[in-house]
Amino acid sequence: MKAVFKHEVSSYFTGLTGYVFGAFLLLFTGIYCMVYNISGGLTNYEYVPASLPFIFIIIIPILTMRVISEEKKQKTDQLLYSLPLSMTQVVIAKYMALMVVFLVPVAIMCIYPLILTAFGHVYLPVVFGTMLAFYLMGGALIAIGMFVSSLTDNQAVAAGINFVIMLVIYFITDLSEYAATTAVGSLLALIIVAILFSVLVGFMTKSVFSGFTVGVVLEAAIVAFFTIRRSSFEGLFPSIMNKLSIFERFYTFVQGVFDITGIVYFLSIIGVCLFLTVQSLEKRRWS
């Protein structure tokens, strides 16, 4: 496991990926720090990471696109399968390496507020709470990106799918508010989501039957709830999306609330995505 971890970390820093990722993040940190703290004269450094989430749409696909897809393409996954390593070890080692690559710019970002304290009162608990949430949120997005990368052996496809997923995660709360505030609107939105989900299940398991079953069960449950308690569907879809939105969770920290449920939420996303990645790799042996 240590071997894979070391190998991965060194591959990010012998190539350009690690540097491009870090440089991009730090460039925008610098710009926002300039605008808010130096030109604007605010002492709230937490506004800087709060302005950065949109960058994830671009840098997460760049960072995670090759992590597993490249192994498949170069057939080096056969080496990993034949070495005395379990897939869980491989996936965790790879994830840890990604988190180290992400930690480097985040650690540098943590120096800025310390410098700012020399010029004014910076409320550090909120700043570092926000930075921790920022790191974990990035971790959750990286875990999602890694799972997507394990689904294909083409980096470009992985990057494309990742880009779309990041866009959806970023804009979903805004979009859902426009689309579906009425009860019927929520119902339609949920039905569409359920259909998409069952298509995804059918595609992943390569079994029309299981996809169809999941779809029917979900639709039946949604319609049943709708007929029983129509009133609770009022504004339901936007509020679900709001609860599920990774970025919304993060903004709570910026407002100075250290939200334990938010931390648990990020960690659970990481856990689920790593589990799915392991399954996706194990499944390949059965195909």
Partner: protein, 328 residues
């Protein structure tokens, strides 16, 4: 038995790549998997090394089941897949270091071990060039180095000499022979002479089934059913046919080629010298000259073709039957 394969079956959807394959591998010998393309050699090797799950059956390596106790079993195996699994942006030295660490070789032994395998596979001169820039032969050798790193008991090589030049092929064969002294080596190939030259035991696989398993000599003896004499004579096709009527118990095929005729005479008779004498005097009596005469016993090549071809036909019939069965 260091490796035992029991009733191994692998299906891809409706296509059966390996069907009910069973064999045992004894310690300290070199085994050769022989079979045409698509016979299931690579699939079998992938399953034996844990890269692929079997639909049915067991693989036991040194007492450990590869599916139940994969980590223990994999420690005993070094594997070179069909395409060497190399990280293109690394140097052979970095790559071998990674593999050595992942194989759990002790820290103080790593450099010594890497040195040893680089020596054996003759990649020392390229040890700090990026793998991407190496030729196919060197890449193949880095792949072999990776497989034999850490002295695994069982070394499995899938077509180890593909892409090498003739001199390298000889070197790698020598290396395999040397490895065979202390290790169990299983290699696959579709090149007969290679398997014949290196292996103690040959397993011929066709359409996912084992059709023969024996030493090269025994296989030849077993299948040496008759003898064949090829002649070129200064006579027309009709003449040759008439002359050969005088010789008993033979099968004749003739082709006229200008002034000469080429004939293949096969006989079930075991005494090849007697057949040659008969042919010679028959032609001499009729005043026709034999320009060239060669005798050949059934070679391993013929056995291979015979075995894999007959199997193909049987398989076709079986497929037809099973398809009919599926329709019901």
């Amino acid at each position: 038995m260091i490796v035992e394969v029991k009733n191994l079956t692998k299906r891809y959807g409706s296509h059966t790549a390996v069907s009910d394959l069973s064999f045992g591998i004894e310690k300290g010998k070199i085994y050769g998997f022989l079979g045409p393309n698509g016979a299931g050699k690579s699939t079998t090797m992938n399953i034996m090394t844990g890269c692929l799950a079997a639909t049915k059956g067991d693989v036991i390596i040194g007492g450990y089941d590869i599916f139940e106790q994969p980590l223990e079993a994999k420690k005993l195996i070094g594997y070179l897949p069909e395409m060497p699994p190399l990280y293109m942006d690394r140097t052979p030295l970095e790559y071998l270091k990674f593999v050595a660490e992942a194989k759990g070789i002790k820290k103080e032994d790593i450099n010594k071990e890497i040195d040893k395998v680089m020596e054996e596979t003759m990649i020392k001169d390229v040890s700090d060039r990026i793998i991407k820039n190496l030729s196919k032969g060197y890449r193949q050798r880095v792949g072999i180095a990776q497989a034999i790193l850490g002295d695994p008991e069982v070394i499995i090589l899938d077509e180890p000499t593909v892409g090498l030049d003739p001199r390298q092929i000889i070197e790698i064969r020598d290396l395999i022979k040397k490895l065979g002294k202390n290790h169990t080596v299983i290699l696959s190939s579709h090149i007969l002479s290679e398997v014949q030259a290196v292996c103690d035991t040959i397993l011929i696989i066709s359409k996912g089934k084992m059709v023969a398993c024996d030493t090269p000599d025994n296989l030849e003896k077993l299948f040496a059913g008759g003898i064949t004499v090829k002649i070129t004579a200064e006579a027309s096709e009709k003449d040759v046919k008439n002359i050969c009527k005088e010789i008993k118990n033979i099968k004749l095929t003739v082709k006229e080629n200008g002034k000469y005729s080429e004939a293949v005479i096969e006989s079930k008779d075991k005494d090849e010298n007697k057949l040659c004498r008969d042919i010679f005097f028959a032609f001499a009596k009729n005043n026709k000259a034999i320009i060239e005469m060669t005798k050949s016993a059934a070679s391993l090549e013929d056995i291979f073709l015979e075995l894999t071809e007959s199997e193909t036909e049987e398989e076709k019939n079986a497929d037809k039957e099973s398809e009919e069965g599926d329709d019901e």
